[in-house]
């Protein structure tokens, strides 16, 4: 499933530097796909990517696309910028989103396009993608039903 790409500014914001372990994740995001490591031995999905399965320590990991649907596990509202790249972003929301595929499977993300006052833990969210200087970040927003 190819997701909508959300283009934003923020030219001076930090960007990830993909490495041997994480490159598939950022490459997938560039194609509009949310890819996670899945253990072929035990089936465990994990994030962030790591050197082996954190559940059974198998190194037999595949990259699998997940739905991009989840719910807000927690969130914080940042009103004072802590980095020059985010001065034009405040207030912005950092969230932990728990994906529907597996209990406890969480990502750190921004909640884009949401007014902080309308947010609550448990609300359904979906992935969108943000282009930032040649790389793409998965981001999340409230689903249409909860906006």
């Amino acid at each position: 499933m190819t997701q909508q790409t959300l283009v934003t500014a923020g030219g001076s914001r930090p960007v990830p530097r993909p490495d041997e372990i994480s490159r598939f994740f950022w490459d997938g995001a560039g194609e509009g796909r949310l890819l996670l490591q899945r253990c072929r031995a035990c089936g465990n999905l994990q994030y962030p990517p790591d050197v082996c399965c954190l559940n059974c320590q198998s190194e037999d990991l595949e990259h699998t696309e997940v739905s991009g649907h989840g719910s807000i596990y927690s969130y914080a509202v940042i009103e004072r910028p802590l980095h020059a790249g985010f001065v034009d972003a405040v207030p912005y929301v950092i969230a932990l989103v728990e994906l529907v595929e597996q209990p406890g499977l969480r990502l750190v993300t921004n909640l884009v396009g949401a007014a902080p006052a309308q947010l609550a833990c448990g609300q359904p969210v979906e992935v969108v993608f943000e282009r930032r200087d040649g790389i793409t970040l998965p981001q999340f927003r409230l689903t249409e039903a909860s906006r």
Binding site: P16, S74, R80, I94, L137
Partner: protein
């Protein structure tokens, strides 16, 4: 039976002056604290053969620096401990292990820091490309050290247990109640629950009064064998049990047990090893770098069931002077000032000795110390022997 494993005691505590203002030289603060601790114990630097310090930020002199300044003849055991340890208590735990094992006879432990440590105020430019684990955090504006994480933990707690923020506020109010009785404390004015609930957001829902108070100061502790302690200046304070804990999936953000980290593992291990139980504890010193940390510790230590803090705490007075669970009797890091763990140990020692003046808990025989947070937990039980 090998030579390993001896009974251990804490025999000396020392403090520099604690201050918010100015930029005192860390080495000067530290000299005050370590000389004070040795004098308190009735020992000299010639007796010291182990040094352990918790290094968070570059400002603190290291183990060898202190050995050189004090003229310590030789160090049989030493370490400069990374900030991933259970805060400053990590130095204490290392000192206890070194003495218990026979690696050294008398360990000097210290923590020295200035208010600049961990400073994240203001807007700074970091590196543009973020490598390693932070590549999944920093590009999202997850910055400011652990402030964002502390905000996320507080929000989740409030949602998970459907509790009001006042649960956290009780920790902040309690700290000032005790600090008013501690001449060393930097913040001695009382705060009310209204003050807490109206204090400004650092990263909403984290408030200013959820966060400890950065100060300039140094604190030191002397640890030796129980056998030697019997002949020293102060009433002996025995280390009854100690433990570390990380929990599974140790991580700030993605820990398997998001709200508690390794606190339950650390606390359960402590109680399995201790000769006493929670019911025997007369006074507790529990890490309060952020109020959420204290709540997770208290539940893990067993004062109430998981998720039951809000029911247990009542109006908050049980933690205060005259309460049935006196906690952070020096004011903690929220009010005495941020001294990173060693200060909790020292206050527990002073309570057991009966040397706390107006804040003394009557007839304190057993003290509980829990330090660090989430994936970096440590705890100690002290007794009067």
């Amino acid at each position: 039976m090998t030579s390993l494993a001896r009974d251990v005691a804490v025999v000396g505590v020392g403090y520099s002056q604690l201050s918010r203002a100015g930029e005192p030289e860390p080495a000067v603060l530290l000299l005050d604290a370590v000389k004070g601790a040795l004098a308190d114990a009735g020992l000299t630097s010639a007796d010291v053969d182990g040094i352990f310090e918790y290094k968070f930020g570059p400002e603190s002199p290291g183990a060898q620096d202190v050995a050189r300044v004090l003229g310590v003849p030789d160090l049989a055991a030493f370490a400069d401990i990374l900030p991933t340890n259970p805060s400053g208590l990590g130095g204490v735990l290392a000192g206890v292990m070194a003495v218990a094992s026979g690696a050294c006879e008398t360990a000097l432990v210290f923590r020295c820091l200035t208010r600049a440590a961990g400073h994240t105020g203001g807007v700074a430019d970091g590196p543009r490309e973020i490598a390693g684990r932070n590549q999944f955090l920093t590009p999202y504006g997850y910055l400011g050290g652990i402030l964002v994480e502390m905000a996320l933990k507080k929000r989740r707690w409030l949602a998970e247990y459907a509790r009001p923020e006042a649960d956290f506020g009780h920790i902040a109010v309690n700290a000032r109640r005790w600090a008013a009785l501690n001449p060393r404390a930097v913040l001695r004015e009382p705060v009310t629950m209204d003050d807490y609930l109206s204090s400004r957001a650092i990263a909403e829902p984290l408030r200013l009064l959820d966060c400890d108070y950065p100060i300039n100061g140094a604190v030191a502790t002397v640890i030796t064998t129980a056998e030697r302690a019997a002949d020293l200046r102060q009433p002996p304070v025995l280390v009854d049990a100690m433990s570390y804990g990380t929990g599974r999936g140790a991580d700030w953000t993605f820990h398997t047990d998001y709200l508690y980290g390794g606190t339950f593992d650390c606390a359960n291990r402590l109680w399995r090893r201790s000769s006493v139980t929670l019911d025997d504890v007369d006074v507790a010193q529990v890490y309060d770098g952020f109020t959420s940390v204290t709540l997770s510790w208290l539940e893990a230590l067993g004062v109430c069931g998981r998720g039951e803090f809000g029911d247990w705490i009542g109006d908050g007075s049980r933690l205060g002077p005259g309460g049935d669970f006196p906690m952070n009797t020096a004011g903690g890091q929220l009010a005495e000032g941020r001294l990173h763990g060693v200060s909790f140990l020292n206050e527990a020692v002073l309570q057991i000795r009966g040397q706390c003046g107006p804040r003394q808990v009557p007839n304190a025989q057993v003290a509980l110390v829990a330090s660090g947070l989430y994936l970096q937990c440590g705890a100690v039980v002290l007794t009067s022997g």
